[in-house]
């Protein structure tokens, strides 16, 4: 090795050393996350419009506790505090949007803490969780406070809505089907963010167009719901129609924001189809046969558990390797 002066050609400052590639696309984790936050705004707005300003408080509490829990645990584990990547904000927002109107702030906070701590940080934080943290929080609330979380009382200050019961519960327990148009606009009973199909589609469309969310999962879910829901409907016209499945409850919200969560969905293209179809199948089965009116949350959590297996068995054949 000869002398190592950086020659006069250089300006004397240090050079950078790293592996190839030396170029990088514009996407960053932060950007992906904040895009999702942005996409959730229409839902937040619809929640406030249809259910009143109190809901803003619920959402804020959910976000604050999610972020706080993440930061606190990162501090405990002596990891760099990375809450600014926005993932905890998303968890909080999502959780805030899937609780019923006028939900207790204490419970919201508890769900947030549980979702982030047990649903995410225990697994090692961002990128390693198996289950969608927001849904974990919601499932915990559902199991812990089943009455509170299925109480769809309409706050008096809310705008006029068709019915306080959720369309799905109305159908299941009272046999009352809700028309499609209020489902699209969102002036029906339900969780904060899920009622307005319009707002959900607006945000979801944004995610799909920018490529933040993979289109395959919502597509597979819609196909699935028509396939499985349609089959049951044809067999038994009393069952909800696929269109009703599509717009009622949190199907769209789940399809756009929950199922497409990168961390907890499959990484392979084929896997995404399997995953989406699986969610739809579970969803239709739970909605039609189950004891609960709504099943999006459980369907997604259930399929989350199988994502590692899906990934494993749908991994792409290596280019040039003989297909088995």
């Amino acid at each position: 090795m000869s002398s190592v002066t950086v020659t006069e050609a250089s300006n004397g400052s240090e050079l950078l050393l790293s592996t190839s590639p030396h170029l990088h696309s514009r996407w960053t984790t932060k950007q992906v996350m904040w895009f999702v936050v942005l996409a959730l705004l229409p839902c937040v707005i619809s929640a406030v419009v249809f259910f009143g300003f109190y809901q803003l408080l619920v959402i804020a509490v959910a976000v604050i506790f999610a972020v706080g829990t993440e930061a606190f645990i990162q501090y405990l584990l002596k990891k760099p505090i990375a809450v600014m990547d926005g993932s905890a904000v998303i968890t909080g927002l999502l959780l805030g949007l899937i609780v019923p109107p006028h939900f207790s702030l204490t419970f919201t906070a508890l769900g947030s803490v549980f979702g982030v701590a047990i649903g995410k940080m225990v697994f090692g934080g961002l990128g390693y969780n198996i289950f969608n943290p927001a849904l974990v929080g919601r499932a915990f609330l559902q199991a812990a406070f089943p009455v509170a979380i299925t109480t769809w009382t309409m706050p008096s200050y809310a705008v006029d809505t068709v019915s306080s019961a959720t369309p799905l519960a109305a159908l299941k327990f009272d046999g009352v089907a809700t028309a499609v148009s209020p489902l699209i606009i969102g002036n029906v009973g339900g969780s904060l963010g899920e009622t307005s199909a319009l707002a959900v589609l607006l945000g979801g469309g944004f995610l799909l167009v920018t490529g933040v969310a993979n289109w395959r999962i919502p597509a597979a879910m819609v196909v699935g719901v028509f396939l499985f829901g349609g089959a049951l409907w044809l067999l038994d016209p009393a069952a909800p129609s696929p269109v009703f499945h599509l717009f009622a409850g949190s199907f769209l919200f789940g399809a756009m924001f929950m199922a497409t969560d990168m961390v907890t969905s499959p990484v392979t293209g084929k896997g995404m189809w399997v995953y989406g179809l699986g969610i739809s199948l579970m969803l239709v089965v739970i909605r039609v046969y189950g004891g609960l009116p709504e099943g999006v949350m459980y369907a997604i959590l259930f399929m989350n558990a199988f994502v590692p297996l899906i990934n494993r068995y749908t991994q792409p054949g290596i280019f040039g390797e003989a297909k088995a």
Binding site: V122, F123, Y128, I130, F131, A299, L301, P308
Partner: protein, 192 residues
Amino acid sequence: MELILIFLSAALVNNFVLAYFLGICPFVGVSNKLSSAVPMGLATTFVMVITAIVTWLIYHLILVPYEVEYLQYVSFILVIASLVQFVEMFVRKVSQPLYRALGIFLPLITTNCSILGLALFMVLKEYSFVEGIFYGVGAGAGFTLAITAMAGIREELELADVPKSFRGAPITMVVAGLLALAFMGFAGMITV
């Protein structure tokens, strides 16, 4: 139709592991690798079906006619213990690697509560012979499903940055808890 419902009920709604806490030992112990979890699930299913058959016969042909139902625990467990020992010998003969992988858990399949649980529930629910078999297959399938999903998750978690003190059993229990939460979606679906 009834038979299918029995199967689904045992496999999903009233999953032995996640709803009844049966068979937790192998569920925690042998779920760290898919390559051992799947055989374990299949072995358990196999033993379950055989158990369902044999215990039904013993119960209905010996214990009930002679009114010695109080001997069910002792007689059932004797049957199960012997059966498991057969399976153990068989596996050992057939595949050494599998025998090594399942390690001490093969003898402990004897103490897999799910198997005795199956026999007892079957008596409790007064299943017919054929129903009993379906129940056994369903319970086995449920166990296999749970342990396979768990093994998949745990293999994935090998790559994850799980805090040190939570590696191994604790995270497995947490995952099982979350799985149980997810399985709650099936509640109220079938009640056979």
